[in-house]
Symmetry: C2
């Protein structure tokens, strides 16, 4: 027997409302923000074949669908509160729903982020999540706060998700021993929520790296009306990526896409506070360059020579 829409929601997605004043099952969910808090909101849509491979395990897809949204909250320094899920599926597939909801709720529970509403319908596999976080008024990390002279940082490592994609596409090869590791970077990104919150009042600007470092950084620089110099050989990357050619390493770290790390700037005088925040959050951060007064992005290698910036940003209409 095919399950109907309402049965589906009930079986896999209904849970007791906890933090929300009213959760799933009415026309709207009700959020009751604490006094002085702003609500940070972000929406991302994932489409099969474009944002994920059809071969991905359902639980990993559930994880990633929420993770990419939490990454936007992290970039604002917001604390996750709740999310809505709109899900189109070609057919009712209970094995998929079981895995998807398991992966989704494992991350949601770990981050204290409650499912409060949504919609399910028949259609090509498409996942649209809107996430809500809270941040004290005036404290959110913005793209617009970078100043000339700031140090530029990135969290974690860059490029493994793109490396995994190229391995799946057959255009790059890696040791069998590290396939699972780079695949994990692509399928199980860890949103830097704790780091974003730890950087409140320390970072002057921040953005999440989802479409490739250069592309995302260019948004931050434009919003802040500044430029930057990046030390491309200083970009943090895995041992697996280091075994690729320099050209692959640069493509993956600079324009890889799907990293979900934070890029942020802070005053040089706050370098110690940045290091403390990173330690508190349990995430490595690496200084990768500096903010310049003149617009544009300049890329330098370890010898200080200019690297040509001919990397196209990852664009979900172009790639």
């Amino acid at each position: 027997m095919a399950l109907g829409e309402f049965d589906l929601i009930a079986r896999y997605f209904t849970r007791e409302a906890r933090k929300a004043a009213l959760g799933i099952g009415d026309d709207c969910a009700l959020l009751a923000p604490a006094a002085g808090m702003q609500i940070a909101v972000s929406s991302d849509m994932l489409v099969e074949g474009r944002h994920f491979l059809s071969t991905v395990a359902a639980d990993r897809l559930g994880h990633k669908s929420l993770a990419v949204n939490l990454s936007d909250l992290a970039a604002c320094g917001a604390k996750p509160l709740a999310f809505t899920l709109a899900l189109a599926m070609p057919r009712v597939d209970e094995a998929f729903l079981e895995g998807f909801s398991r992966g989704l709720f494992a991350l949601a529970d770990a981050q204290g982020c409650e499912l409060v509403g949504g919609d399910t319908t028949q259609g090509p596999l498409t996942i649209s999540i809107t996430v809500f976080g809270e941040v004290p008024a005036g404290v959110a990390l913005l793209r617009s706060g970078a100043r000339a002279g700031d140090d530029l940082y990135v969290s974690g490592q860059l490029g493994d998700a793109r490396l995994a994609l190229e391995v799946f596409r057959g255009s790059a090869g890696i040791d069998a021993a590290v396939v699972d590791e780079v695949r994990g970077a692509m399928e199980l990104p860890q949103p830097r929520v704790a780091l974003g919150m730890a950087l409140r009042g320390i970072a002057r600007s921040a953005i999440d790296v989802s479409d490739g470092l250069l592309g995302d950084l260019s948004h931050l620089l434009r919003r802040s009306a500044v430029g930057a110099t990046i030390e491309v050989d200083a970009l943090p990357r895995s041992a697996a990526l280091r075994r690729q050619s320099i050209a692959w390493q640069r493509l993956c770290t600079l324009a890889g896409g799907d990293d979900y790390e934070l890029a942020f700037s802070a005053a040089p005088a706050d370098a110690g506070r940045v290091a403390e925040a990173a330690q508190r959050a349990g995430v490595a951060v690496t200084r990768i360059g500096r903010i310049d007064p003149e617009p544009g992005l300049r890329l330098l290698d370890a010898q200080g020579a200019t690297v040509a910036n001919d990397f196209a940003s990852f664009d979900h209409f172009r790639s």
Copy 2:
């Protein structure tokens, strides 16, 4: 030249932030709720071929995509504040984007509802909107408040959207003179926001009728642990629908889908306040039955004879 994702957003969807503390262009939008206000949240996803015909005009699709979400706010008595839009399109089609954004913003502006963020990507045409409204704490209209003895009401008219669908399917015929009128019911639903707000403190329960009256009402009854008796010949419907057979009239009004009217209950002593609220909102409301203590839905005709309840609810996985 194909426009990239970011150019698209800029050209058709970026406007100055007004009510929101921070609008489009950062990782998150920031909403600053007024003291004592709860945020009502709802998400709906529309998929081509399932929620709308591929022949629909782009501006009407823009209107409807937001209208179906605003209808959920209306059912809670919430005042629209903001929304996010996630849009998958097979290709960058500027004529579509121009029309879609025009229809979307016309309704958004009329309702004071600001676009604060979203996502655009390539994929089968899919529109996912999450809408935010505000309502004073404790005031939201809920599905769970109906009590035995309440009068049951519905706003506007039921059934024309389904009639239009059946005309397009070729299974019903209507006069050419009224085609545009019933098509308007399907493509340009008017969310009952003003009515929902006017019913604060008057209606004891409310739900929006999107999947057919019987199906939606059954959610309200279950949540309220009551039943209801509906006078099927009292259901408000258009002259065009009245010219159809009784069987078609009943199917369309009781289980039509896509009505986006409000069904609500109120104490008989508040009948005058209901009428005043309807007048203030400029929307007709019709008493269609009563809430009973015993569970289940009973259907009666104008002579008081039982009508068999063999109408299947509209289900986006079944229909």
